[in-house]
Symmetry: C3
C-alpha cells in the first residue's frame, strides 16, 4: 500500500458516519452500509500494514475473552491473531459445552469477566434460537455494568458465529469479492450462487449461507440461493435478503437446482447445511440430552442427505458458470470428494484449482475481526489509524 492509497482510505473513512463505539457486533444487517464499509476499509488497512511489517497494536494492555460453545480451529486462531495484533491478551472461558446457561448466571458471569476486558468473542451456533440470544444477554449485562459504574469500560461482544449469522466469515468473504472484482462497486450486477451441497455429515449450521445472503444482497449482486426441497433457512433471514435486494438494486431468488444457480454465475459458494426444521428438532433433543433421539435424527438426516449426492460442485457444473470460470468460495473445511470423504461438496479437481484462493479468503478473517474490535472499542478510529501509521512501529526488529 502506497502512502497515496493510505491517504485515500483515510479520506474515505472520514466521510463515513459511524455509531459502532461501545456497541456489540452481532448481525451484519443491524449495521449501516457505512459501518460495513468502514469494517472493510479498516480490515484492508490492517492487512496492508501487517504485510508491510507495521504494527497495528492499539492497546497497551487489556483482555480479550473468547467463549467457544462449539469446537473451532479457524475462528479460534483468527480471533487469537486479531486480539494479539491489537495488543490484547487472550483468555478463554471454558464452559461446560453441553450447558445452556441463561439468566442470572450469564448476567453475573459476563460482569465478572469484564472488569479489565475490551472485547468478548462468542461462538454459539449449535442451538437454534439460542446463540444470538445468548450474545444479547451478555451484551445487556455488560451494558448495565458499564452504565452503573461497575465496569470502567464497555467491552464489545463480537459474534464469531451464531445460529443466525456468521458476520466475520461473511465480511471476510465480502473482502475476497472486493479483491476479486476490484471494488465494492464492482460487485453490482454480479451473480453469486449460494447453494447447498452434499456432505456425509449432518447438523452443519445455517449461519454461513444466511450470512452470505444477508450481506451480499446489499451490494447490488444477484443472489441465487439453491437447495433441495426441505433444506430451508430461517424465514427472518430470507426476508432480510429480499428487503436488501429490493433496496439496493440487486436481486434475490430461491431455486431448487444447483445447475440453475450456477448458470452464468460469477461466484459460486457450494456448502452443506442442515434444514432449519432439523436444527429445531435437534435443539429440542440436545436440550433434553436425548441421546437415542439424536442418533435416530442423525440416521434419518443422513439418509435424507444421501438423496442429494448429486449436489456436488464439479467441473461440469463449473462449466455452466460465467465464462466457465466463476470464483469458487468456501468457509473451509470443505468436504472434498475423494480427499476428505468419498462423496462431498466439491470435486477434488475443482477444489485443488481454487485451494489457494480459499486460503486467501480465510486470510481476511483475522483482519475483519481486528477491524470490528477496533471500531467498537476505539472512540476516534481515524485519528488512531493515523497515529499507528505515523509511528510506523515495526512488528519485529532487524
Amino acid at each position: 500500500m502506497t502512502q497515496k492509497q493510505f491517504q485515500a482510505t483515510i479520506r474515505e473513512l472520514k466521510t463515513l458516519k459511524l455509531g459502532m463505539y461501545n456497541t456489540d457486533f452481532l448481525l451484519t444487517w443491524e449495521r449501516s452500509d457505512e459501518e460495513i464499509k468502514a469494517v472493510v476499509l479498516v480490515a484492508e488497512l490492517f492487512k496492508e500494514m501487517h504485510k508491510a511489517g507495521i504494527s497495528i497494536r492499539s492497546f497497551d494492555t487489556g483482555l480479550a475473552i473468547s467463549i467457544f460453545r462449539d469446537k473451532s480451529t479457524r475462528t479460534r486462531f483468527s480471533f487469537a491473531s486479531a486480539v494479539n495484533a491489537l495488543g490484547l491478551g487472550l483468555s478463554e472461558l471454558d464452559e461446560e459445552k453441553s450447558q445452556i446457561a441463561h439468566g442470572e448466571t450469564v448476567r453475573e458471569t459476563a460482569t465478572m469477566i469484564s472488569f479489565l476486558t475490551e472485547t468478548i468473542g462468542i461462538r454459539d451456533d449449535m442451538f437454534l434460537g439460542e446463540g444470538n440470544k445468548y450474545m444479547r444477554e451478555v451484551g445487556a449485562a455488560i451494558q448495565e455494568g458499564f452504565e452503573k459504574g461497575v465496569l470502567h469500560r464497555r467491552p464489545s461482544v463480537v459474534n464469531l458465529q451464531c445460529d443466525v449469522d456468521h458476520p466475520t466469515q461473511a465480511l471476510a468473504d465480502l473482502m475476497q469479492l472486493k479483491s476479486h472484482f476490484g471494488s465494492l462497486e464492482g460487485l453490482r450486477g454480479k451473480n453469486i450462487a449460494m447453494t447447498w451441497a452434499y456432505s456425509p455429515s449432518y447438523g452443519k449450521p445455517l449461519s454461513v449461507p444466511q450470512g452470505i445472503i444477508g450481506l451480499m444482497t446489499r451490494f447490488g449482486m444477484n443472489v441465487s440461493l439453491a437447495y433441495p426441497k426441505g433444506y430451508d433457512l430461517i424465514r427472518d433471514v430470507i426476508e432480510v435478503a429480499k428487503k436488501n435486494a429490493s433496496r439496493n438494486g440487486g436481486s434475490f431468488k430461491i431455486v431448487d437446482s444447483m445447475e440453475e444457480a450456477f448458470k452464468s454465475a460469477d461466484v459460486v459458494y457450494p456448502k452443506s447445511w442442515a434444514p432449519y426444521q432439523v436444527m429445531q428438532r435437534r435443539t429440542a433433543l440436545l436440550r433434553k440430552s436425548d441421546k437415542a433421539g439424536l442418533v435416530e435424527l442423525e440416521k434419518e438426516c443422513l439418509a435424507n442427505n444421501a438423496r442429494y449426492k448429486t449436489w456436488e460442485c464439479d467441473e461440469r457444473r463449473m462449466g455452466l458458470t460465467s465464462k466457465g470460470s466463476a470464483l469458487y468460495m468456501h468457509c473451509l473445511p470443505a468436504d472434498i470428494s475423494g480427499v476428505s470423504c468419498t462423496e462431498g461438496e466439491v470435486s477434488k479437481d475443482v477444489f485443488e484449482r481454487y485451494r489457494l484462493a480459499t486460503y486467501a479468503e480465510a486470510g481476511f478473517k483475522p483482519f475483519v475481526i481486528a477491524a470490528i474490535i477496533f471500531l467498537t472499542r476505539i472512540d476516534k478510529p481515524v485519528q488512531a489509524l493515523k497515529e499507528l501509521a505515523n509511528k510506523k512501529k515495526t512488528t519485529y526488529h532487524g
Copy 2:
C-alpha cells in the same frame, strides 16, 4: 482521582515500612498492618488509573503462572486481568486435578516453570491441611533456586484461595468496606456479621469466613461469627481473630444465631461453608479416592445442612441490622432462593437490592491481585508508581 489525591496516596505509601519484595503472599495475618495498607493503597491507585485509561503496565515481558486445583471462573479471570494489566503473559499449569503432588516433584516442577516467571498464583482449597502447605513447598523450592543462582529472579507465590485463607477475596472485601465507610479508620467500631447460611450443596471451603475474621478484626471492627452447632472453623484462625481483636481495639465473638449476629450489624456476610470436621473426613476420603464414602458423607451433610434451612438472609433479618440497612456482602456466586436454588443463602429481594454492590465488591479483586504482585516483585514500588503516573501512557489509542 485528582493529581492531589494521587500525591496524597504516594505520600502515605512512602511512610509505610514494607518487606514484601521477593516474598510470597499467603496469609493476611503474616503481613504487617503497613503492608496490608500498602496493598489497599496500590490497588486503589491501580483502579483509579485504569478508570482514567492510564496503563499500569510494569513489566515489559515475563510469565505469570496459575495453578488451579479447583474449578474457578471469578478468581481465574481476576488473576488473568491483573497479570495482563501488569504486562505479564499468563500460562496455566494444568495438573491432574485429583493428584496431590508433594516433595520432590513439587520442588522440581516449581523450579522448571520459574526460569522467566514473575509470579505464581495458586488456588488449592479442596484438601484441609494441604493447600497452604503446598504453596509453602512451591515457595521454598523457588527460594532455593533463587539463592543457588538457578533462577535469575524470585517469582512470588500468591495465594488465590487455600484451605486456610482467601487473602485476595478478603482484601477486596476490605476495599469494599473502606469505600463504603470512607476510610479504613471509618471501620473502627463498626459491626460486621460473618454468618453461616444455608445452601443445598456441601463441601464449600472455609477460607472465605476465615479470611474475613482474620482480616476485619485488625481494623477495630466488632466481628460476630455466627454458625449452627458443629459448623466450626479451623481453631488456629479463631485464635488469630481473637488476638487481632484484642490488639486492635475491636471485638470478636462467636454466636449460634443468625439473628443475634445481624442485630445492629453495619455489615452482613451470610455465606455457607462445610464444618471443619466434615472437611477433614472429606480430605481423608478424597485421599483414598473412596467414592462410596464420599457419596455417603455428602448425603449425611446435606441432611445436616437441611436442619438449618432457616439460616437465610431475608428482609426480616436485614430489618434487624443497623437502621435496617446493613451492607450485604458476598464473594459470589451466592445461592439465591428462588433464583439459583429453591432455598439458599439469601432471599431474592435482598440479593437483587445489593446485586450491583456485590459486583462492585468483586471488581476490587483484579486490582488487589495486581497490587500484591507489584509489591512482591517491584523493588522500589513508590518510584515505579510515579514513573507510571508520569508516563501517562493510555491503555488504548484514539
Copy 3:
C-alpha cells in the same frame, strides 16, 4: 556480562555464515557448525541479558503456536517463557491426542493458523516415523502459503522433540557442557558416556540419546553410547554420529556395559529409553488402537527392562569416572531410586549431589528456544541484538 564480553560475542556472531532466516529448525545435524554456534551464542546473550534485567523483546506483536502431541510440562513452559520474552503471544493448538492427522488436513490447518504467526513449536515423539515427518509437512505447507502470497511472513517450525531428535534439549545440554568446560573448544577430547539406565516404565522416546550422540560428536568429544543388547537406536542417527566423529576429530563407539562407558568419563548421561524395535511395534499397535496388544507389549518390555536393573548410576559407578567426579546430566524428570521409584536410573545420593546442576542444565532451554526463534525469524540478527542492547529496556520497573 560485561560490555567487553558482549562486544566479543557480537564480533564472533558477525563472523558466522547463517542461513537460518525463514527456515525451520528440525534436526541439529541439518544445521552447519556455524549455525549451531550462533544458537549457543545468542542463547548465552539472552540469558545474560535476562539476568541483568534487560528485555530481549524482539516482536511488538505476533503469535507463537504450540502443538503438543504428548504431555509436557518442562518443554511447554520453556516454549511459553521463550515466546513471551520475545514479545509473542502463545496459542496452543489442541488436537485430539490420539489422532495422527496428515495430508490435506495438515496442509490446510497449518496455513489457517499461520496468518499472523511467527513460529510453531511442535512436540510429536510418540510415533516412530511420524513426528519428524509431520513437522516437515507443516513446514512445507507454510512454505507454499508464503511463496504463493497467502502468508505475509513465514513462521518457523521448531522441533520441540520428535521421534528422531530433541534439538532444544541437546542444545541446552551443549550449553551446560560449554559452561562446565569453559568453551566449546574445551569439549575437544572430553569423554561423554550416553548410557541407557533402568527405569520401571517403558516407551520412553529415543530422541534424547539420539540428540546427544548426534550433536556432541561434532565438537571433538569422545562419545560412548552404552546399552544392553537389543536397546538399539535408529540406524540413521548412529550413522550421523559416526560421520560427525570422524569429521570432527573425536570418536564414537557403542558398548554394552555401563561400567565401560563410565570409565574415565568426564560427563555421564544415564537415561532410559525403549528399544527402537519396541517403538516400531508400539507405533503399529497405537495406529491400530490395539489396546490388548499394547498391554501385552508393555508387560513384555517391563519384564525385559527388569533384566537390566543393575544399570543404575550409583556412587560406585561414578567412582569409575575421571577423577571420580564426572558431570552428571539428565533431561529431567529422572527416575531416582528410593525417591520417584524403588529402583531407577540414578541413586538418590548421586542425584541429590547433582540436583541443582540438572536444574541449571534445564535453565538453558528457554534461551535456546528463544535463540532459535530469533535466528529463524529475524533477518538481521546481529543488528537486532545491538539495538536490544542499546535500548537497555528493563524487563520491569522500579
